[in-house]
Amino acid sequence: MLKFAILQLSDPVVAEDAVQEALAGALKNVSTFAGQAAIKTWVFAILKNKIIDTIRQRQKLAQLAPLVSFDGEADDVDTLFDRRGIWKAQNRPTDWGTPEDNVLGRDFWRVFDACLNHLPAQQGKVFMMREFMDMATADICVDAGVSVSNLNVLLHRARLRLRNCLEKHWFQGEKRAC
């Protein structure tokens, strides 16, 4: 949770506050919480709202922290394709079968976590805003300081990279095909 908050807020101190407040809020309202199984999801939902609040507040103060920069940007997703923009043989997506959420264990999530952390900072940030927090395009663009088309480019790259990383480190594990 903390890592998640840090990635979103790019400030460990603010992130820690947000997590702490989310947990405190959850404890205080624990009586309103019904099911046991989804407690983590519930706390996460509270945290997400906290983070979005914090981001919005930041926007209002026009105190936009310097962007997490486009990272050395020798972006290796380009090397997945040849000059004509066709998949190189060794990078062609292979079949994952059906990655059923519930059968993927702890080890998988560890790999997932690592791959996520390997995304260039800005790609990771917008990817999480979109896919974890389900934020609206407009909000993401304002917070990340990018245009809509730029956002689409970042998400495309993040998906290519994350997909490739998972395939290389998880799905391809045993069957080193061609």
């Binding site: 890592k3 066709i86 990655p99 560890r110 976590d113 689409n152 998400l155």
Partner: protein, 71 residues
């Protein structure tokens, strides 16, 4: 003809915005012929599912120190 780079871009975009009719046709044509991009397209959607699920994964795999923040 769309190349794989552009096809994966459109497939990715389709998760975030509505494609135009022309884009949909061009993507559809490419996917019909390219199994690799079909897989990319499916897996990009899988990534979304996995991401949503990630938030509800038991936490101990990432950071043991979180309990501190409960005071």
């Amino acid at each position: 003809m769309l190349n794989c780079w552009s096809a994966t871009k459109l497939a990715s975009d389709s998760l975030d915005r509505k494609l135009t009719l022309v884009e949909r046709m061009r993507l559809g044509t490419h996917l019909a012929m390219c199994p690799a991009c079909r897989r990319f397209s499916r897996q990009a959607a899988d990534l979304r599912q996995l991401s949503r699920h990630y938030c509800s994964v038991p936490d101990d795999l990432s950071r043991p120190s979180e309990t501190d923040s409960e005071r």
